[in-house]
Amino acid sequence: MLEIKNLKASINNKTILKGLSLSIKPGELHAIMGPNGSGKSTLANVLSGKDGYKISGELNFKGENLKDVPVEKRAQKGIFLAFQYPLEIPGVNTNNFLKTSLNSLRKSKGEKELDSLAFLKLVKEKSSELGIDEKILSRQLNVGFSGGEKKKNEILQMKILDPNLSILDETDSGLDIDALKIIAKGVNSSRNSKKSFLVITHYQRLLDYIKPDFVHVLSDGKIVKTGCGELAEELEKTGYKKLN
């Protein structure tokens, strides 16, 4: 699904990622942990194609080199990023945003656009599945949403857009236990042999609910350790310091 080889990324002449390699196969869920400033969010941004980074190394998605592929094209190919800080867009109805988004993804795949009725049916189904109040969807996009509502909204979008690779950038930060369970449910219910996940987190807490196939430790722009689920628990006890 995703092949990263010796990825380096810098912004404003500061190198953040310093030769990162990672391979994610279909059906796998990888967790990336690491201290503040280790480059976790940069990795998420670079994978999504955000502007402003100077990049070298290899980045392949479904066998295709992502170099020079703009953000929206990557999204259309099936990369989804749940934002750490979802943006507020006043005046834009959340439902309308999501419908426009879904239809632009469908269009790019040559599928028929969904009409409003079919779309609303889909939204109802997915939001009740996750236990999210669909009322948030009739509000302006993320405007006046609580931190938890914003994150839940991201996961609901992920469910509806149904991407191949979902990247969750610290989606669990600042959530209470109920919201955390909803996020986990959203991920777990989407897992199958074709979908891949890259879950970026600070804490082991989320991994109590989401069982990763692999856990990587990112430090100073490189993956310094890779293990299975137990690695997360170990880190929780010992902290990151020991690794360096």
Partner: protein, 478 residues
């Protein structure tokens, strides 16, 4: 107009050239020109006198200069005041001859091919499909006693109505551009809706444009008699290239007892190029009088074109319980400038007005909302609600809100709200990540911002206006 034709025009003794295919007056503004226009329109003497009166007034007044966008001095003696429809020889032969940029925009707007040809001014030899359509419309309207024709025709056929109402809302003494228009207006629309008639369709200039090409000094007069209703759409939603610089139209609306007029404009004149070269000066005077009790006038405007837009569609709320509304979207990109808003003059009791203004500024553009709410002493229990929102894109544009509020009695209430916000790259990135391209993302954000105004437009207009909003801001971000 081409140089050689101008030379040709100069050769003639009387300075006028009349050949089979086109009729033009030479440059300049004087009594002869006005007489020429009046004569060619076969106007009665009272009309010519009216024009000349305006012209003599014009000589004694100066252009206003309090507006924010400044412009180079216009030499009025250097302009053309009359040019009849171009002959088919001069027009592009087919769409292949038209600027491809223009065609691209038409395509994006989803304008049908036949319509594209018409908008681009292509000479079409075959009979217009719309001719038959126009005729059907006319029959249906005539049945109800509705008059909808070029104003030059109304001057001849319905002089009693024109005499009574022309200049009754915008007097010939009003201000420089209005006075200039009164002296030299060439054509425009005339609408009369009889008592208790609800006009069965949206009236639009589009269905009239065959009869006469509207010039740069249009004059429109709409009268809604007691208990009647009409919705009027103005302008075309595609960019028009116009070699003239100044566009100074006058629009007068009159609503009598219990009548309602809804007037919608989508203005997309040539805005000039990316460097601010060329473009239309859109200096238009629009004013409606709610003359009767319980009458209502509602202006909706989407202003995306022109180098400078300078206009204040206004309502004079004379009748008790009358209502005035103004919904506006003004978009300025590149070097465009807009100074627009409204005036709500409350004279009658229990009068209400509502102003919703959305200004969007991108590139190096400058966008000003300027509005007056004037509640008179006798306009007891009146209300006004004003909301002005500005959206900025980038760091080089400007947005200004200048409200003037005069409340002369204590039983009336005025509310004013204003906000300024900015589209940032993070918002666009967020939209991009959800699969929307730059254009779609900007369109979505801006349309969200304008929603309250777009909702006011008639259905068929709203869809085009939404697309236009996106197109006008193309390339303004990132």
């Amino acid at each position: 107009m081409k140089q050689q034709e101008l030379e040709k025009a100069k050769e003639y003794k009387y300075g006028f050239t009349t050949d089979i295919e086109s009729i033009k007056a030479p440059r300049g503004l004087n009594e002869d020109i006005i007489k020429f226009i009046s004569e060619i329109k076969k106007e009665p003497k009272w009309m010519l006198d009216w024009r000349l009166k305006a012209f003599s007034r014009l000589k004694n007044i100066k252009e206003p200069n309090w507006q924010k966008p400044k412009y180079p001095k216009i030499n009025y003696q250097d302009l053309y005041y009359y040019s009849a429809p171009k002959s088919s020889n001069e027009k592009p032969k087919s769409l292949d001859d038209v600027d491809p940029k223009l065609i691209e925009t038409y395509k994006k707007l989803g304008i049908p091919l036949k319509e594209q040809e018409k908008l681009a001014g292509v000479a079409v030899d075959a009979v217009f499909d719309s001719v038959s359509v126009a005729t059907t419309f006319k029959d249906k309207l005539t049945e109800k006693g509705i008059i909808f024709c070029p104003i030059s025709e109304a001057i001849q056929k319905h002089p009693e109505l024109v005499k009574k109402y022309l200049g009754s809302v915008i007097p010939i003494t009003d201000h420089y551009f209005a006075t200039l228009n009164s002296a030299v207006f060439t054509d425009g629309s005339f609408v009369y809706i009889p008592k208790n008639v609800r006009c069965p369709m949206e009236l639009s200039t589009y269905f009239r444009i065959n009869a006469s090409e509207t010039g740069q000094f249009e004059r429109t007069l709409i009268i809604a008699d007691e208990g009647s209703y009409v919705s009027y759409l103005e302008g075309c939603t595609a960019p028009m290239r116009d070699e003239n610089q100044l566009h100074a139209a006058n629009v007068e609306l009159i609503a009598l007892d219990n009548a309602e007029i809804k007037y919608s404009t989508v203005q997309n004149w040539y805005p000039g190029d990316e460097n601010g070269k060329g473009g239309i000066y859109n200096f238009v005077t629009k004013r409606g009088a709610c003359r009767g009790k319980n009458s209502k006038i509602s202006w909706t405007q989407v202003e995306t074109g022109s180098a400078i837009t300078w206009k204040y569609p206004s309502c004079i709320l004379q009748g008790d319980n009358s209502v005035g509304e103004f919904y506006s979207i003004a978009i300025t990109n590149n070097h465009q400038k807009a100074d627009t808003g409204t005036k709500m003059i409350h004279l009658g009791k229990n009068t209400k007005s509502k102003i919703i203004s959305k200004g969007i500024s991108a590139g190096r553009a400058d966008n000003t909302y300027r509005g007056l709410v004037d509640i008179n002493k006798k306009a007891l229990n009146s209300r006004n609600y004003t909301q002005c929102d500005s959206l900025l894109m980038g760091n080089k544009c400007g947005a200004h809100t200048i409200p003037y509020i005069k409340n002369k009695n204590s039983s009336s209430i005025v509310e004013h709200e204003a906000t300024t916000s900015k589209i940032n790259e993070e918002q666009l990135y967020y939209c991009n990540q959800r699969g929307l391209n730059q254009e779609e993302a900007v369109g979505l954000i801006v349309n969200g911002f304008c929603k309250e105004v777009l909702q006011q437009l008639p259905m068929e207009f709203a869809v085009e206006a939404q697309k236009l909003v996106g197109i006008s801001l193309e390339g303004s971000v990132g």
